[in-house]
């Protein structure tokens, strides 16, 4: 009991997170997927676009652990490289939307008044179109490519993250310690970064974690309809759409990338769930 009292806030969260087995499993899977994505050229036995037209649709064997596709490309290598594109879609879109969303949300929540009104009306503008339609429209207008899909998804995510941070800042803004910071004439930027955000960020962290999984899913969806990563790039959604026309005889071409997506997204969801429980002060003890 004594030990527990001495722990700081983040150590406390970490302690509670560690106790949640599912969250730990999720975290391990996330780390593995990230390592696979980073080390893709080392890990993959072949290149993602190396064709071998003599051995198309090969069954799993020692050379090709998961078989080959219609161009004789190694499925395992494509899955490994696919982790790269899919993760960069998920992470890229989330990071971009966080940079803009959190900044806008913090400014709107902290200053309030006219600034708040303008930023929130701007957010309303982007959130009155259904999410997926928004992604499809923007990425189709910008032209189909991996980068444009990331931009489209992050644009669609900005209002959500801005709103969430603003709402939790509103509950912190009138606290005494903020007043104290203002009283000692702390600059606005300093107050926001050092006092407001650390106390209001918890809900946003959870939604960011979940958001990465969500972005991997919607990124795969965009690639599936031909608006994201373009062939011959290996991306899980892209591989699904290539496998679709062949699935009557070669179901594994559809199953493999789908399972990869599901495991990754599941890991992010498990970790996010665990993080939410760990950050929730009501569940202390």
């Amino acid at each position: 009991m004594k030990k527990k009292k001495n722990r700081g806030h983040s150590a406390e969260v970490w302690y509670r997170l560690k106790k949640n087995k599912l969250a730990v499993v999720g975290m391990i899977v996330i780390i593995i997927v990230i390592l696979v994505a980073v080390l893709a050229p080392v890990l993959a036995p072949y290149s993602y676009d190396k064709q071998d037209l003599m051995h198309t649709f090969a069954k799993p064997s020692a050379e090709h652990l998961l078989g080959t596709d219609k161009f004789g490309r190694d499925n395992l290598s494509r899955l490994i490289y696919g982790a790269r594109s899919s993760l960069s879609m998920g992470l890229g879109a989330t990071v971009l939307s966080c940079i803009f969303g959190l900044t806008l949300g913090a400014i709107a929540g902290y200053f309030g008044g006219v600034v708040d009104n303008i930023i929130m009306r701007f957010c309303d503008l982007f959130s009155c179109v259904p999410y997926l339609l928004m992604c499809v429209v923007i990425s189709a207008i910008l032209g189909p490519s991996l980068m444009n899909a990331i931009i489209a998804m992050s644009l669609a995510h900005i209002p959500g993250s801005a709103r969430l941070l603003r709402a939790s800042i509103l509950s912190v803004r009138d606290m005494e310690y903020i007043e104290a910071a203002k009283a000692i004439d702390s600059p606005h930027a300093h107050t926001i970064l050092k006092h407001v955000i650390p106390n209001a960020i918890a809900p946003s962290i959870v939604s960011i974690t979940m958001g990465i999984g969500g972005c991997i899913l919607s990124g795969a969806t965009l690639s599936f309809v031909g608006l994201g990563a373009q062939p011959p790039l290996a991306e899980w959604g892209c591989m699904l759409s290539e496998g679709r026309s062949l699935m009557r005889d070669h179901m594994e071409l559809v199953l493999l990338p789908g399972i990869a997506i599901m495991i990754t997204v599941l890991a992010f969801n498990l970790f996010g769930d665990g993080l939410r429980d760990a950050l929730d002060p009501r569940l202390k003890n």
Binding site: L133, P159, R163, L164, A167, M247
Partner: protein, 318 residues
């Protein structure tokens, strides 16, 4: 609400105007002469500034006219009316199915918390939330249409062809509904009024369904409403996989051919619809929850409630 929808149209129009791609070139083909394209631009009024075209779009809209498609030369409004019922049907069917599956599972899991049935249903629903919808649809097609040949893989010819799209869409919604239902039921089940209801000897069934579930409904309604609105625009994927001639696939093909009037028309239609649905959800809150209704009457507490509801809505959107 209405100004916001018009703002969206302006954003889409400016985006369309500043990105590569030219409907005139699409229409006339690659061999078209420069003067032909210019002529076509004049005919489409693409040589005029964006604001002029925007003003004209809004003016025509106020007169009930969404313009004429560049490619099919038919009125956009007529096309939307023709295609929307398919989208509405599949989304409604899958939403109803999702509610029938998801809410009971969530209630069941909450009332049997921490036992293996709870764990199993929660884990299963987490799986279903994490898998791509279209992937599940492809697996269903492979099993039931290609291998077993029980159901048609695409089209809308018989009632049988609606089964696969409905089920594949519903499974994801059902899973997220089950999760939401479980967590809000867990919150309610520990309240004092549940103890009171049990203490006065009410049957367990009534305690759960009449007392607790009724109070747990608010977040569930939010999810149902926003998912319904979202999927009216987001059924694109299911529509393309199963070749359903709905509004989603219609918008999709208009986007690839850069058919401006059709893009603007359907975005306007779907955005308006989405806003109206969210408004209806807010009204339904008042109908289900007398506490919220009373907040509208007593303006003194309004400040507090608006802060709370902002947090709640941000929560659901995230």
């Amino acid at each position: 609400m209405i100004p916001v929808v018009f703002g969206v149209i302006l954003v889409v129009m400016v985006l369309l105007d500043n990105t590569p791609g030219d409907p005139a070139r699409q229409l006339l083909g690659d061999n078209a002469e420069e003067w032909e394209i210019e002529e076509m631009h004049k005919q489409m009024e693409l040589d005029k500034p964006v604001l002029y075209r925007y003003g004209k779009f809004v003016w025509n809209l106020l007169h009930g006219d969404l313009g004429i498609s560049y490619f099919t030369k038919s009125p956009v409004w007529g096309n939307i009316v023709l295609r929307f019922p398919y989208t509405l049907l599949i989304v409604t069917l899958s939403m109803v199915l999702a509610m029938l599956i998801g809410i009971p599972i969530g209630v069941y899991a909450a009332t049997h918390q921490y036992n293996w049935k709870d764990n199993a249903s929660i884990f299963l629903s987490l799986f279903c939330v994490s898998m791509p919808n279209f992937w599940f649809a492809l697996i269903l097609v492979n099993i039931f249409a290609q291998k077993l040949r029980w159901l048609p893989p695409l089209g809308i010819d018989t009632w049988k062809s609606w089964i696969l799209p409905t089920v594949s869409l519903a499974i994801g919604y059902a899973a997220s509904l089950a999760r939401q239902t479980r967590s809000s039921m867990l919150e309610q089940i520990r309240q004092d009024y549940v103890v009171t209801a049990r203490a006065k000897g009410q049957t367990e069934r009534k305690v759960i369904y009449k007392h607790a579930l009724k109070n747990a409904l608010i977040p569930i309604i939010t999810i149902v409403g926003s998912t319904f609105g979202m999927s009216l625009g987001g059924a694109v994927i299911a529509e393309t996989i199963f070749s359903i001639p709905g509004l989603g696939s219609f918008t999709m093909s208009a986007l690839t051919s850069r058919d401006y009037p059709t893009i603007l028309g359907s975005v306007f239609y779907l955005a308006t619809l989405f806003s109206v649905i969210l408004l209806i959800v807010d009204i339904v809150y008042g109908l289900v929850d007398p506490r919220i209704r009373s907040q509208f009457i007593r303006s003194k507490r309004k400040q507090k409630s608006s802060g709370k509801s902002a947090l709640a809505s941000a929560d659901t959107e995230a």
